[in-house]
């Protein structure tokens, strides 16, 4: 599983093109999954480049941590209606051939858009 990393930029770092610098310096295609105005950026990149990217970011004094949190799906509460499917910006939800809901946690970027749309309250969101 490709890991997702949460970067927290603060102070002076907020004005710096740190991700761009990281890509230029390492040559790794870093994908920005989500970026918030408070300086939190969720990124993903091919896992063979873990060392290079993390070394660069840490070298710049950036706070980096692996983001394991994803929206939690409770299959016991879920009724497989699919209300979440068209809302999810990263297409983490889909139906299998029997119209049962399939949730691909790896795609979740914790935006939380699905949470209040679930009529069975089967989705919950941990901290980003």
């Amino acid at each position: 599983m490709t890991k997702k990393y949460l970067i927290k930029l603060g102070g002076e770092q907020l004005g710096e093109p740190i991700i761009a610098d990281c890509i230029l310096a390492t040559g790794v295609r870093v994908n920005i999954l989500r970026a918030d105005a408070d300086g939190r950026i969720l990124i993903r990149f091919p896992k063979e480049h873990d060392t290079a990217v993390l070394k660069f970011l840490k070298g710049k004094g950036v706070e980096v941590s692996e983001q394991k949190n994803v929206v939690k799906h409770d299959p016991d509460r879920c009724v497989n209606c699919g209300a979440c499917i068209a809302l999810c910006p990263t297409k983490a939800f889909s139906f299998d051939k029997d119209r049962k809901l399939v949730y691909d946690e790896e795609k979740c970027v914790l935006c939380g858009i699905c949470i209040d749309a679930c009529p069975r309250r089967a989705l919950s969101k941990p901290e980003f």
Partner: protein, 501 residues
């Protein structure tokens, strides 16, 4: 060759009945044709599972010692209606909890009852000579009740419009969360598996039809409320909500798998209800109708951002398109979501099929068929733009600022819509003219506003007042569907009417 209910039931009793689900019937008719299907197939089972708000349960609690006549009653803090004798109450699916708000309601109380959970009963009364007790608080489960009838006035809508949102903010509706700028589309029917779509003229469904209801065997007790037979049809199926069912069963026999509470954010609570109806294949016509496919069933996509009961259909689509996960709307690809779990609808059609195959469920001929019926709007005092609007003074872009200022003064107006090729193409106000004079501008095009916010003749005054306020403007040209100016409505017109009232 026609069959009768009695002949089909005879085969069911012998275990010889040929039963297919509505999904299976499609393939059968494609392979063998309608003639053979009508001869060989006895029953087609249908199924639907979706949020059906017009649902609830009549409960009888038995008498306390000393007895109380409930005047107000709450089940897990959700109020039930008790305006009948002593200890009967109706718990409605959409009633909200007085302590948990939108997160718990009547639908959840019914789910919890069916799951066998303990429910808190709280009741109050003035106390009478015959019912001296004034309050009571106790716990009960479904099995403690004398009667518990699931009794739903309007279920199993025959088709339903799909929903979208053209506005620039997210809206929350009973059709779910609708993202701005046509961000998504929601829809809610089991389409080719849906009961009233497989018998679109309700030839075999009516008062007394035995059905699968919430996992129990129940009955249709007549046409549901808002039943409407006069909706335009395509391939025999109404384009949107039309026929409905009133249904009843013993809640004690319900299965928690097929009856569950639901929350629609910022709208309220509801109850997911499972319904399955057997369609007897009495003749070729029924064989043909039960073989209907998603691509032959159409519905309209409505814009739920329009705050009116009559929302315009943006597009007509079929269910094969909706189920593909995306449709094209207003030039872009829009993703679609179902709100009604198709997987459970299939399961219901399958369970009903097995009941019939095993001889546990026989068909009933309706005692009374559905009558022609329409769905009328509420009679109340509603004022439309067309009743209040004034005549518009208009001009063209070729006019000068000087000419327009004379027109404003001469006609005693503050707004002049600009017309080009017979259609609205801008607006100029007395303020715009004053500004033009102050800045020394002579040409109208330098001051006119080209993007005009408008009203339509059949909009209500309330809607228009809100539009004026939201946009901080004082008048709206009234236009028809082709952009032709029919009149103008100003904030003074609206205020005058409100004051008169």
């Amino acid at each position: 060759m026609a069959k009768t209910y009695a002949q089909i039931n005879e085969k069911i009793r012998k275990g010889d009945a040929v039963v297919l689900t509505a999904d299976e019937m499609i393939g059968y008719v494609e392979k063998h044709g309608v003639k053979k299907a009508a001869k060989e197939v006895d029953v087609v089972t249908t199924g639907t599972f979706g949020a059906m708000c017009s649902s609830g349960a009549w409960l009888n609690f038995g008498h306390a010692e000393p007895p109380i006549k409930f005047q107000k009653v709450w089940l897990n803090d959700v109020e039930a209606y008790t305006g009948v004798a002593a200890v009967d109450a109706y718990i409605g699916a959409t009633q909200l909890s007085e302590t948990e708000g939108f997160e718990y309601g009547g639908g959840h109380v019914i789910e919890d009852l069916v799951k066998g959970e303990e429910i808190e009963l709280r009741a109050t009364s003035n106390g009478t000579d015959c019912y001296p007790r004034k309050k009571i608080k106790t716990q009960f489960t479904l099995q403690d009740l004398n009667q518990a009838w699931l009794l739903n006035p309007r279920n199993a809508y025959q088709n339903y419009a799909a929903a979208t949102n053209s506005s620039d903010k997210t809206i929350y509706t009973y059709m779910g969360k609708l993202l701005p700028n046509y961000g998504n589309v929601t829809y809610t029917t089991s389409s080719q598996l849906s009961p009233l779509i497989n018998d679109p003229y309700l030839e075999t469904i009516g008062f007394g039809t035995r059905i699968f209801l919430a996992g129990a065997q129940g009955f249709v007790i007549g046409a549901g409320t808002q039943h409407n037979t006069e909706v335009p049809r395509k391939n025999g199926v109404p384009l949107g909500g039309a026929g409905t069912l009133a249904v009843k069963c013993d809640l004690k026999k319900a299965d928690a798998k097929y009856i569950k509470g639901g929350v629609f954010e910022k709208y309220g609570v509801s109850l997911y209800m499972g319904i399955g109806i057997p369609i007897p294949i009495l003749n070729e016509e029924m064989a043909k109708r039960t073989a209907i496919k998603d691509e032959q069933i159409f519905t309209k996509v409505l814009d739920y951002s329009i705050p009116s009961r009559s929302r315009a259909g943006i597009k007509e689509v079929n269910y094969a398109q909706l189920r593909s996960g995306k449709i094209e709307l207003s030039g872009k690809e829009v993703r679609t979501s179902s709100l009604a779990p198709l997987e459970t609808a299939r399961e219901i059609a399958d369970v009903l099929k097995k009941w019939i195959q095993k001889g546990e469920f026989e068909l009933t001929e309706p005692l009374e068929k559905y009558q022609k019926s329409t769905f009328k709007p509420l009679k109340h005092d509603v004022q439309y733009v067309k009743d209040v609007m004034g005549k518009a003074v208009t001009t063209g872009h070729e006019s000068t600022v000087d000419q327009v200022s004379k027109l404003l003064i001469g006609r005693g107006v503050n707004h002049i819509p600009l017309i080009k090729d017979g259609r609205l193409d801008g607006i100029v106000t007395s303020w715009d003219v004053a500004k033009a004079v102050a800045e020394g501008k002579k040409k109208l095009e330098d001051v006119a506003v080209r993007t005009v916010i408008t009203a339509q003749p059949n909009e209500t005054l309330g809607i228009v007042a809100e539009r004026l306020r939201k946009n901080g403007i004082s008048a709206l040209p009234v236009v028809d569907g082709h952009g032709r100016v029919l009149g103008i409505i100003t904030s003074e017109d609206v205020a005058r009417f409100v004051n008169k009232k």
